[in-house]
């Protein structure tokens, strides 16, 4: 059972919001005493996902939460946008696949950097990506 302890919602509409958001995630991670390497992994993964959100869906909303499961604490981030959605998630999760001009590392790379990764998308409605990084994960 995952319990949510504290929560914050950040709206992303422009590139500069990304820095604000990254700092917010860092504050949360420091509050639960996450180590520097895990913090960096979490924020890098978040940075990849928030870029996708800006590029393909013109922004969206991110929920930052401190969550707890048993004795373990962690950070859960939920990225929600109302963009065009992803028609083939399996393909989007493949290394090197991109419909933009990028390297295609964003989604698969972010998945490798966190402990829990889930993605749900409906064409024309939007995409929701949820990641969790545990303090000792």
């Amino acid at each position: 059972m995952i319990i949510s302890l504290s929560k914050d919602v950040v709206a992303i509409t422009k590139e500069q919001d990304v820095i604000l958001f990254r700092n917010r995630v860092k504050e949360f991670a420091q509050k639960i005493k996450m180590g520097l390497v895990n913090q960096t992994k979490l924020i890098t993964a978040a940075s990849e996902l928030v870029r996708n959100m800006l590029r393909y869906a013109d922004g969206g909303q991110i929920t930052i939460e401190v969550v707890s499961k048993g004795r373990e604490n962690g950070i859960r981030l939920v990225f929600k946008d109302s963009g065009p959605g992803i028609s083939d998630i399996q393909l989007a999760m493949k290394d090197g696949f991109s419909i933009g001009k990028s390297l295609g590392l964003g989604l698969p790379g972010a998945k490798r950097l966190v402990n829990d990764f889930s993605i749900a998308s409906e064409a024309g409605k939007g995409t929701v990506v949820t990641i969790i990084k545990w303090v000792n994960g």
Partner: protein, 136 residues
């Protein structure tokens, strides 16, 4: 508009990134730097990222681009001061920064650039020597 300063030190260009980069800022740095290389005929570019806490795939791509573009313009690029956590994250992300020279700190990076210049000069001398030896 924020701007990252590019300092000239002899034949080298020195860039110290002290702020968190957002995409536009990184793209501007890329074009400014490549233009500076061409304008000042620089032989080396040193990028200090010791104050950068996050390098994601976009930022990594920009660093790779700068190195490739500079190489075409006859300048070597060295990235120095990467934080250990950033290195760990980059490799796990799947972006090992191929083709980019790295050094632990600015001093070592400068030495690396200088040694690369020396090698180039020696090669040129060798070529000139060979030209002299061609029998008429």
């Amino acid at each position: 508009m924020d701007k990252i300063p590019i300092l000239r030190m002899g034949a080298f260009l020195l860039v110290t990134i002290q702020v968190d980069l957002y995409d536009r800022l990184a793209l501007n740095l890329e074009s400014d730097l490549v233009q500076m290389v061409s304008k000042t005929d620089a032989k080396g570019v040193l990028i200090d990222i010791s104050a950068v806490s996050i390098v994601d795939s976009f930022m990594g791509r920009i660093i790779g681009n700068i190195a490739n573009m500079s190489r075409i313009l006859d300048a070597e690029t060295v990235v120095v001061g990467m934080q250990p956590a950033v290195a760990i994250t980059l490799v796990e992300l799947g972006l090992p920064l191929k083709g980019v020279h790295t050094a632990l700190d600015v001093e070592k990076g400068m030495n690396l650039l200088r040694s690369k210049m020396q090698v180039l000069e020696e090669e040129e001398e060798d070529l000139n020597d060979e030209d002299d030896n061609i029998p008429v």
